[in-house]
């Protein structure tokens, strides 16, 4: 099985087969990473596709000494950031959650007690009110289930900063949920 690095090396030479393998491997990862940041399925789909196009066009700039995922994540994060800026501008600085179905109750998890739809709605709204950076770290830890080391790698920050950012992001998320409940 080819590694990510060798696939990108082949993409550099215009190898579309290698590109197809890479897309197949990361398409769902890309979609979910984008979904966590923009909170809208249609946009997350478009952003994931645009991210792959950038990989194809910018493959020659990829540093093969570095792992692929952090590089790819930075592309996705950048696209999401641009998308949110445009969207905020369009909606006069209010981020409207028009796709409330981006988070679903996990009925496939029998160990958990059922969460109320009302609580879910509070969570969805509170998540989209967080800053980009806070939503990013919450998304990676809570919904992608990444370890602190994995988050540190993907965001290119020290492990201690991951803990610190998570602490403050959770404080804000809890506060926002309380405010909305009140």
């Amino acid at each position: 099985m080819e590694t990510d690095k060798s696939l990108v090396m082949n993409i550099k030479t215009g190898d579309k087969k290698a590109f197809g393998i890479l897309v197949e491997k990361y398409k769902k990862v890309a979609f979910r990473l984008a979904l966590g940041l923009v909170g809208n399925k249609d946009d997350a789909y478009d952003i994931s596709q645009e991210a792959f196009l950038r990989v194809y066009r910018s493959a020659h700039t990829y540093d093969t000494k570095q792992p692929f995922l952090p590089w790819f994540y930075t592309i996705i994060s950048n696209l999401c950031h641009t998308w949110l800026k445009k969207r905020q501008h369009r909606l006069n600085n209010t981020l409207d959650v028009d796709d409330s179905s981006f988070l679903l109750i996990d009925y496939g998890n029998p160990e958990k007690t059922m969460v109320k739809e009302e609580t879910m709605e509070l969570l969805r709204k509170a998540l989209m009110e967080l800053s980009f950076e806070d939503r990013e770290i919450i998304s990676l830890q809570h919904f992608r289930g990444m370890s602190y080391d994995e988050i540190a790698d993907i965001l290119k920050i020290p492990r201690g900063t991951v803990m610190s950012r998570l602490y403050y992001a959770r404080k804000k998320l809890a506060k926002l949920m309380k405010e909305q409940y009140a």
Partner: protein, 147 residues
């Protein structure tokens, strides 16, 4: 408790602390009810987020993902060639136009001056716009992803 120590709460509920950090925090939790309340709040939050998952797309969309992406890739190449062709033809057309304008002795001087000014104005505006875009690009904190 110092602020940076409170941050250990995040690592505590995620099981990411070292033994030493965990023991330190647990001993602090016993004597600090405020900290304990904060921990409970985080646990509750973690419980709620643990009960939800991201929505997925229908299978048919995933099956057609590559085809859709490939079409976009082809279209992108099409636009690049179209742009190159348009730039070459427009540049050549403008060159011929101005050449004829200056050679033709029948054309009034005022028309020649007017057309030259118009051409210069458009060129200055394009250069200015380009410089602004380059300046904005250099100040973009996320620009490194394109490198």
């Amino acid at each position: 408790m110092p602020k940076d120590k409170r941050e250990l709460l995040a690592g505590y509920i995620d099981g990411e602390l070292s033994d030493k950090e965990r023991q330190e925090l647990e001993s602090e939790l016993k004597k600090n009810p405020e900290l304990k309340a904060e921990l409970e709040e985080f646990k509750k939050l973690k419980e709620v987020t643990g009960m939800v998952r991201y929505a997925d797309l229908p299978d048919e969309i995933w099956e057609n993902y590559w085809q859709s992406l490939y079409r976009k890739l082809e279209r992108g190449l099409g636009w690049i060639f179209l742009s190159i062709g348009a730039i070459i033809l427009i540049s050549l057309g403008l060159y011929q136009f101005f050449k004829q304008l200056y050679i033709d002795s029948q054309t009034p001087l005022m028309v020649k001056i007017g057309m030259t000014a118009l051409g210069l104005g458009v060129a200055i505006l394009l250069v200015s716009l380009g410089r602004e875009r380059i300046f904005a690009y250099k100040r973009d904190r996320y620009r490194e992803v394109k490198k």
